[in-house]
């Protein structure tokens, strides 16, 4: 039985205007997320993962960027909507939460008012009803003493609490899709575990499709069912999380995994991917990872399409020939 996709992104490109002309930050990104599924998008800085999320939400700076491709949610292509239509959809059908809870909330308004504002932006309800709902949603996201906390200002709350408020704002209108851009990167590890647990629970209970963007493979391993690895603006690998960790097919994914320090590998030299991400203005014409890849050959000088192989996808011409190390040492 095929589950209808809650979000389907096809051939997404995103471009920025810079002093050197137009550069492409995201190229040909496609993925789907089903209801109730948590999909990971993993990459380091410069991978384009955040730009992808902002492009889907239509939050890239208007005069300085453009997008092409499609992002269909709730039967509508978000990229084709007018600004007025987009305003109705954001926060209602598709929501986004961001990385820095310290700066993401308006410091001059009480958190209750910020939640009420979201509710009333999308539904015609009385202020009273919205206020009650605000208290309930704060309870749902695990804020103690919600009835009192509703009157607090953001600066009176800890980072973990603020992130919960962000989640509350994002889910209060019961969106079908939630994009979480590094939601726990700035938080302590114990708080991170709680927030990730909260996201998983909400996804289960409400059937929300979640796109979890992160640089942390551990977070992906424990929270996501499928993962997309992004490098230099492209998706280079897409598969189930266990597959990615046991048998990565792309050298970059494998390199990332090898670079993670773990207590079991104490003091052993970690694999450090040499080189740097090429600047947007001078991307290689062929495989974008080739300058840093230890398996590079002549065939890598050609542009690499995303190849499908048994339920997985990988952007590497040599994937069938390579046996790349994963997170588990093969016996």
């Amino acid at each position: 039985m095929t589950v209808a996709a809650a979000l389907e992104v096809r051939n997404l490109d995103a471009y920025f205007q810079t002093l050197e002309g137009e550069v492409q930050a995201v190229r040909d990104v496609s993925f789907t997320v089903a209801a109730g599924e948590i999909v990971g998008v993993v990459g380091e800085s410069g991978s384009g993962k955040s730009v992808t999320a902002l492009a889907i939400m239509g939050l890239l700076p208007p005069g300085l960027s453009r997008t092409s491709g499609s992002a269909v949610a709730g039967g509508r292509d978000l990229l084709a909507l007018s600004p007025d239509q987009l305003v109705k959809v954001r926060g209602r059908e598709i929501s986004m939460i961001f990385q820095e809870p310290m700066t993401a909330l308006d410091p001059l308004f009480r958190i209750g008012d910020q939640i009420i504002e979201t509710i009333r932006a999308h539904q015609r309800v009385s202020r009273r009803a919205a206020a009650d709902r605000a208290v309930r949603i704060l309870e749902d996201v695990g804020i103690p003493d919600a009835a009192e906390r509703v009157r607090a200002y953001p600066h009176q709350l800890s980072g973990g609490m603020r992130q919960r408020v962000m989640i509350a704002i994002a889910i209060v209108s019961e969106p079908t899709v939630l994009i979480a851009d590094e939601p726990t990167t700035a938080l302590d590890v114990t708080v991170q575990a709680q927030i990730l647990g909260l996201l998983a629970e909400l996804s289960r209970e409400h059937g929300t499709a979640v796109v979890l963007i992160t640089h942390d493979l551990g977070v992906v391993a424990e929270t996501c069912t499928r993962v997309h690895t992004m490098y230099a603006g492209e998706i280079v690998e897409e598969c189930g999380v266990d597959d990615a960790l046991c048998e990565p097919k792309h050298p970059y994914t494998s390199g990332l995994i090898q670079g993670i320090p773990r207590a079991e590998k104490r003091r052993q030299a970690l694999y450090s991917i040499p080189g740097r991400v090429p600047p947007l203005t001078s991307m290689p014409a062929g495989c974008r990872f080739e300058p840093r890849c230890e398996h590079a050959q002549e065939s890598c000088a050609a542009p690499q399409p995303l190849q499908q192989a048994g339920g997985r996808a990988v952007r590497c011409c040599r994937h069938a020939a390579l046996a790349l190390p994963g997170a588990v040492v093969r016996t």
Partner: protein, 340 residues
Amino acid sequence: MSAVAADDMPVRSSGPLLSASGLEVDFKLPGTGAPLRAVDGVSFEIGRSEIFGLIGESGSGKSTIARAIMRLTPITSGEVMLGGTRFDRLRGRELRRQRRRVQMVFQDPHEALDPRMTVRQAIEEPLRAGNRDSRAGLRDRVIDLLHRVDLDDSYLERKPHTMSGGQKQRVNIARALALEPELLVCDEAVSALDVSVRAGIINLLIGLQRDLEISVLFISHDLGVVAHLADRIGVLYLGRLAEVAPTESLTARPRHPYAEALLAAEPEPKPSTHRAPRPPVIKGEAPSAAKPPSGCRFRTRCRYAQKLCAQEEPPLRRVDHDTLVACHFAEELKLTGRRA
């Protein structure tokens, strides 16, 4: 106290290099002026050629300890001994002389570098003061240091804005090594770097310990990184040490509930088939350091808390020959760690 030998590293036990006893650091809260005790009676030792990891979440006081040791923040009470010298009491010229022995690398590689200085100038700067080397001699020293951090000569005349985060951090480390310190204090030195870049810096630090026999105080909130690097680890909670143990015993068998909670919360990049069952995620958040709970500070979040925990603060005491724990029930509790 000699460090437990981890693998191939023989460690000299000629007395600890750094010894902190009863460190207390107080701050005044802005506005009310009420006192905040950020560090409350912390004692630990770092041996020669040892990497000591200090782990804690926000509000634990780990950065404050780093700054206190570096004499960047005044100590309210307690002692810091460097070699045989009372480091916290030094002043003036004596302080300046002894200061060379401890150098620091900070979290933000970018902020630590003057954007108008070239790499050569940045590394030369600490060497210049009171140095009678010739110009060429100085340059040779700088090149030497660059090689030590795996950067080649081409970096000499480059400016920070042309370099990546990892490269900048290497320059920071080179600069810190210029005065040949005995102890390198790294305060979240890799936290701002990408994952693949971190690996390089971690390898570098391990190499430095091996080649220069330098000690490192590695402060971080990232247990994975600390567990990889450190010979011994101290776990901080709300200004006090909860546990101090050799890395392998801490990760395999923690003795303090907070250490267990940290290990449980740390996400493992392993497939579901290889993940061991873990205790449930800890609840709540750390209380404010201004008003710590009575008795054991961790009791409000501890799964194993008993009445005694609210009444008496557990002292940091020795259990097993190489582990210190601050828990009344350290002997009874069977806590879950991470197996290889």
